[in-house]
Structures are given as C-alpha cells and as structure tokens.
Symmetry: C2
Subunit: 242 residues, 2 copies
Amino acid sequence: MAKTAGIVIIGNEILSGKVQDANAAYLLHELRLLGVDVKKVSVIPDEVDIIALEVATFSRQFDVVFTSGGVGPTHDDVTIEGIAKAFGHRVIRHPELERLLRSRYGSELNEARLKLTEVPEGAVLIREDSLWLPAVAMENVYIFPGIPDLLRQKFESIKERFRDRPYFLRKVYVKEGEGNIAAFLHDLLREFPELMLGSYPDIHNPSYRVMLTLESKDEAYLHTALERLLAMLPGNSVHQTL
Amino acid sequence: MAKTAGIVIIGNEILSGKVQDANAAYLLHELRLLGVDVKKVSVIPDEVDIIALEVATFSRQFDVVFTSGGVGPTHDDVTIEGIAKAFGHRVIRHPELERLLRSRYGSELNEARLKLTEVPEGAVLIREDSLWLPAVAMENVYIFPGIPDLLRQKFESIKERFRDRPYFLRKVYVKEGEGNIAAFLHDLLREFPELMLGSYPDIHNPSYRVMLTLESKDEAYLHTALERLLAMLPGNSVHQTL
C-alpha cells in the first residue's frame, strides 16, 4: 500500500526533445486508479550525481518512487550507479540476474550485457511469472526501464502491491467561464475544505467552457459536495454531470 | 540568449492523471531548436509553498525558467503567489493589466477576473503586437498559462530572446543490438569526450534495433566524430545515416 509517490524520468533524449516521454503519463494514470497520490514528477539527465540527489530526495519525501530509463548496456545508462550512490551503496552484479542472462545469451554475454546484471547492493528482486527478468527495487525505489512496453510489463506485474483506498471522481461541465463561477467554487471549498476541486477551461469545446472535477476518497462526502455545487450554480449553466 | 533552462509544470490535474501535459514536450522541442539546453522538468501541485521552493531553486540553477499553469481566476490558481513568495515579494495588481482587462470586460470585470491582473511585485510585462495580454516575467522566470494554445502563442511571440548557438544533430540507425555496439560507443566517447552521444533501442522497428544520436554545437567536431563512428561499426550493421 502506498499513499504518496514520486516519479523520476531519466534521459537526455527526453530533455533534448528527441524522444517524447510516455512513461510519466502512463504511471500517473495507473497510480491514480490504484488510489496513489503522486506528488511530483521530475525529468533529469543521465548524470550520476543528479540522479543520486533526486532519488535520495524523492525516497525521503514519498512512500514509493518509480524511476524510468537509464538501465541498458551502454555508456549513457547510469541509473543503477546513481541510485546506488543515493543510498551510499556499491554497485554489484546480482548472481540471479547473471544466471538468467547467461541462460539467455550463453557465450554472447559480453561485458556490455553483464551491465544488465548490476544493481545497488541491498536491492531486492521481485519475481513474477509474467516477467522474464525480475523487477528491481532498492528500498522504496522501483527501477524501471525507459522502453515504454517494458516499463508497462513490469509495472502491470507488480502494481497490486501499491493499491490504496480508491479515489472517487465526479465531473461537472459548465457553460459559464471561470471568471463567472470562481466565487461559487470558493464558497464550496469553504464548506468542503477536504474536497479536491479542479477547474479546467477548455477553449475549443463548443458545448461547455469549464470542466470541474470533484474528488475525494470519501464517497459520501463527495456526493454531498456535488449536490451542494449543483444547487449553487445558476440554472442552465450546467452542460453535463458525469 | 539562454544557455540553460528549467521547466516547471504546475497542476494537480496533471499529477492526478486527469489531463495529459502537452506543454513540457512542446517547450523541450522548441528550446532545443533554439539551442537552449533544458536541464530539468518538474511537475508539481497547485500549492504555494511547493511552487515557491521549486521556482526559487530553478531560478538559481538555470539561466531561464518557464512555468506553465495555475494563472487563471479560480481558487486553484496560485502560481503568481508561489512565484512572488519564491522571490520574497508581494503580489500586486498590475495597472497596465487592469487597464487591458477593463477595456475587455467593462462592468463584468469582477473580483475573480481581477485576479488575472496580479503579478509578483517587480515583475515585468513583455509586450508583443501578437499578444492581447503581455507575457509576464519575474527576473529570469517566464510565467505561462497552462492552456496549450495560449502557452504556445506566448512562447512563439517571445522565443527569439532565448536563441543561442544551434545544436547540430546526426542520427545513425544500427541493425545490431545495444549489447553488441556498446564497446564501440565507449571507445568513440574516449576519442570525442565532448560529443553528446545517445543510444536508443527500438524494439518494434523491423529495419533497425538502435538509434544513435550524435550532437554538438561544433559542426566540424560532430562531422569528424560521425566519420569515426561509421569507420568503427562493423560493415553491414548501419541501416541508415541521417
């Protein structure tokens, strides 16, 4: 069970605009469905010291941390070294990973591929039947590959361990602009201070101007707040409630 | 002219997976074309203290900072307050913004809309003919709206002020897996330590297995490094060079 999470996306290719990241959006969507509150996403370069500092900070601040990228066999794959440094540990070759790679590559298991057996000392392997290579976790940091298909495969296999109480979400589409409804939202939050209330203008949609989102882990509280909001808003201003 | 940059994306809707961010990818792509080296992207919630801390840190670390989101008229729009706090300044209503909004909204300029005139004290307006509302900058922090169309419009209008020497980029698509070429890449970097060299596997493309990217602001250096790499790689292993 995880209440809060942070995501660290590692890769010069993202920061330099050559490759568009898809992993943050995927993890944000999945973690929300699991009831996990993601507090921060960082995108940082393939540099050991920067990775070490970011992972150490995230690991202290959040219940769980997910990293994406920088775990392949080439020179720019320095995530393992960075995470090891974050915890003041050495990098070791994990015997179980070496056995798995040896059975796959045989005599083609060169120095570069042996890099795939490296983990921070003290890391644990998470074996799942669906995974050829186990997932790797160092304390509360889950180390994922950057290739989206592989990241999804690993996350899918282990995601149930993060499940928390679900969020309940309702949406109200409003035909008035934000400037005309801001005062109502303000009043609603005074009555329902625990409500997670979002207001998102859409300048393209012809049927409504603002999407309001109401969220809570307490379904009854959410229901009451929604009723109150609908009573407050001027007649005719609601396009749709979902 | 800006050598380094950081991007701060502000919005609970992104972190909660309700809305997928498009602004980071846009800015990363545009800034690279301008020759600017983006060092970090953060996605953080609509919370004054978190915004203040992140913006203060980014402002010290990078030449320029771009924020996206949290500048509308509703309760969850607290970016201006956060940025003001980052610099230890008050929030004020800017007379020029008030004049512009008054000419647009007339008697409909209510309290909520007046929030759109707020800036950190000491902020400057950047007027461009193409912009109805000027862009706002506080020291080296450029404050953009979260709505992608509006962000793009503002960025397009002011982007030339950030232009630096361009990056030159070449790509080599290789039919071998990373495990078989890692040693060559390592050797190449020993000879060309200033080369920005990336290696990105593609598990879906039938014609190649890895895209190598070579980058430099020195075109001659890049050219020599590319020639050297092509001489190193085994015959037949190069699918395409772009």
